[in-house]
Subunit: 363 residues, 2 copies
C-alpha cells in the first residue's frame, strides 16, 4: 500500500490534478494499492490558513510515499512578501522531505516539433535529463538578509553554501540515471568564479571514479546556456546546483517546444528499486488566465504521475505503459488549445484525459 498526498494548488492546478486522479484510478485497477489524501498548498493554503503550506500538511507529506503537486500562485498573492508567497510551499516541501534531486527531463515530442523555436533538425528526438540539486545552495543557505546599513543605505545579501556530501549525493543520482541512458554526465558550475563551483567540480570528479562506465565532462554555466541553444543534442544528463539548475532546466525545456507536456520529479535519492520518496509536478505554472475554463492540458501532470509510478511506486511497467499511451494520443493528433495548430479543433482537459485512458485500455 502506497500513500499518495495530492496537493492541487491554484489556478489550473485543481483541474489538471482532478483529471490525473482518473489515471491514478487506472493504476489502481491495474493492481496498485494507493491510499489517497488531499490537502491545500500555495495560494489556496494562504487563503485558508495564512501560510503557503501548513505544518500538518508537511507532516502528512513526510508520512506519504509520494506527493502529486499541481501548480501554485496567481495575481491574488503577488503582492505578498517573499516568505508568505505561494511558491514558498514548494520550497518548504523540497527541504522538509529532503528532495535533493530534482529531475527535469527536456524531451521533444516530435509531433510538436513545429512549436519549437529551434530548427527541427536540432531538436528532433531530443532527450536531455537535468538533475538539479534542490535542497541547498542559494535557495536555503544562511546568512541572508535585506537590511539598512549604518549609512542609511539598503543592502541585501544571500549565501550559497554546499558541503561535499550535498554535492556527492546528487551527483550519484545523476550517474545512476546516466546508466539507464547514454552514460554521459555533464557537470555544470562556475568553478572559475565561485568557491562552491570549485568544490562542485572536485566532488563531481571524485564521484565519477565510482562510475568508470559513465563519461563525465565539466562545463561552465554560461557556456552550458550557450551550448544548449547551439547544439542541445550533445547532452545526455546534466547535473548542476540549485540556481543554475533552475535557469538551465527552463532554457532546456523551452528548446523542446513541448513545454506544456513536461513533467518533473523531486526525489530523495534513487532509493532501492523504485521506492524513493518523491514529489511530482508539471514544470508549467498555474496559468491563472485560463483557470476554470476546462481547457488546460493535463499531460504534464499525467506524465508526472508516470514518474511517480517509476520512482516511488516501483512500477516501471505501468510508467512505461502510461508514457506510451500519452505518446500515442499526441501522435494521433488529439490537442488541447495550448498545443493545437491555429484553426484546428481542440479538446478539453477532460477529453484529453479520456483519450489517454482510451489509449491505455486499447493496449
Amino acid at each position: 500500500m502506497f500513500k499518495l498526498l495530492v496537493l492541487p494548488g491554484d489556478g489550473i492546478g485543481p483541474e489538471i490534478v482532478r483529471e490525473t486522479l482518473r489515471v491514478v484510478d487506472w493504476a489502481r485497477n491495474a493492481g496498485l494499492r494507493i491510499e489517497l489524501s488531499e490537502a491545500l498548498a500555495g495560494g489556496a493554503s494562504i487563503d485558508a490558513v495564512g501560510a503557503p503550506i501548513a505544518e500538518d500538511v508537511v507532516e502528512q507529506a513526510l508520512a506519504s510515499d509520494a506527493v502529486l503537486f499541481g501548480a501554485v500562485g496567481g495575481p491574488k498573492w503577488d503582492h505578498l512578501p517573499r516568505p508568505q508567497r505561494p511558491e514558498m510551499g514548494i520550497l518548504r516541501l523540497r527541504q522538509a522531505l529532503d528532495l535533493y534531486a530534482n529531475l527535469r527531463p527536456a524531451v521533444c515530442f516530435d509531433e510538436l516539433l513545429d512549436a519549437s523555436a529551434l530548427k527541427p533538425e536540432l531538436i528532433r528526438g531530443l532527450d536531455i535529463l537535468i538533475v538539479r540539486e534542490a535542497t541547498a545552495g542559494v535557495y536555503f543557505s544562511l546568512p541572508r538578509a535585506n537590511e539598512v546599513g549604518p549609512d542609511g543605505q539598503r543592502r541585501a545579501y544571500d549565501t550559497q553554501a554546499y558541503t561535499e556530501a550535498e554535492i556527492a549525493r546528487v551527483c550519484r543520482t545523476a550517474f545512476e540515471l546516466a546508466r539507464t541512458r547514454q552514460r554521459r554526465v555533464c557537470s555544470v558550475d562556475k568553478a572559475n568564479v565561485m568557491e562552491t563551483g570549485a568544490l562542485w567540480r572536485a566532488v563531481a570528479t571524485e564521484v565519477a571514479a565510482d562510475y568508470p562506465d559513465v563519461e563525465l565532462s565539466h562545463m561552465y554555466a554560461d557556456n552550458c546556456a550557450m551550448q544548449l541553444v547551439r547544439r542541445p543534442d550533445q547532452f545526455d544528463v546534466i547535473v548542476t546546483d540549485n540556481l543554475f539548475g533552475d535557469i538551465l532546466s527552463d532554457a532546456a525545456a523551452a528548446l523542446t517546444g513541448s513545454l506544456g507536456l513536461l513533467p518533473s520529479a523531486s526525489l530523495s535519492g534513487l532509493g532501492q528499486g523504485g521506492n524513493s520518496r518523491g514529489l511530482y509536478e508539471p514544470i508549467h505554472g498555474s496559468a491563472p488566465d485560463i483557470a476554470g475554463q476546462g481547457v488546460a492540458n493535463p499531460i504534464a501532470t499525467i506524465l508526472s504521475f508516470a514518474l511517480c509510478l517509476r520512482w516511488s511506486f516501483d512500477r516501471a511497467d505501468l510508467a512505461d505503459r502510461l508514457e506510451r499511451a500519452v505518446r500515442r494520443v499526441v501522435s494521433s493528433g488529439v490537442r488541447t488549445p495550448d498545443i493545437a495548430h491555429p484553426g484546428v479543433a481542440a479538446v478539453s482537459t477532460i477529453e484529453m484525459t479520456d483519450a489517454v485512458l482510451a489509449a491505455l485500455a486499447a493496449e
Copy 2:
C-alpha cells in the same frame, strides 16, 4: 588626446587585436588623437610575471581612457588554481576600473541567419542589449571560502551582496541606453527566492520613476532564459546582476548565430557625452585550437573598437561609419572560416580586415 591601453592576451587575441589596430589607425587618420600602449594580460602575463595581470598594468589601465582587450586563457594554464588563472585578469580590471555596466549586445546579422539554431523568423533583425552588473554580486562579495569543517567534511560558500547604490547605477545605465532604443527595460532577478533579488526589484522600480518615458517590466531569471528561447524579440534592454547576466547574455548571443561577431563594452557608467572609461572586448574566447593560423575572425574585436569610439572617445560618427562598413563587408559575402558556408572559399584574418578598411575608404 585619448589614451588606449591594448591587452592582446592569449590564443587568437594577439592576431585579432593586431588587425584591429589597423582600424585604430583609420580612426587616427580620420582626426582622432589616440596614444597607444600595450601590455600583458592573461596567460601571457602569468608566464612573464606570475600573475594574470600585473599591478602596474592595472595602474596603466586606470590612467587610460579605454582598454582594448583581446582574449585570455588556454590549456597551458587550465591546471592553475582559480586566483591565478588567466580569467582573473579581466575580473581584476572590471573591479579596479569600476566597470560596473557590462554591455552585451545580442544582435543578429541577417546574412548569418542560417547559422542560428533558431527559426529565421524568430531572430531576423534581433537586437537585444543586455546590461549586466559587473563589479559586485557573487563574483566579488565576501565572505567566501572553501574549507574543511570540524567533522572533516569540505564545505564551500559564496556570498552575493548588493547595495542599493550598486543596483541603482547599473539600472540608470540601462534606462539611459533604452532611451536611445525602443525604451523598454526588462529587469531580471530571482526576487521570489533571493534577498538580493528582492532589493534588485525594488531599486529597479524606484529608478524607473525617473524615466517615465521608458517602460519597465520584471522577469524571473528562469523565465527569462525560457523567453529568450521562445520569443527573443520581446526584449529591448535587459538589466540584471553579475551572475544572471553572465548566463543570460551567453544564451542571448548564442540565439543570434552571430556569436563570432559580437562585441562587448564594460563601462564605468555612461559619463558625459561619450567620455566613459571603458574596456572593450569580443565576447568570444581565445580559441587556442586555431591560434597562430591567421584565420581567426577579427570582426568582434573591430566592433568592440567601434563601441570604444562611441562610449569612450566621443565619436559616435566614426562608430556608425565603422559599424556600417562591417555590415557591408558581411553583406558582400566576405567570410572567415568560422562564418563561411561549407565549400565556400574563406578569407584570412588580414584579408577580412583589408575588406573592412576598403569599405571604410569607399564610403
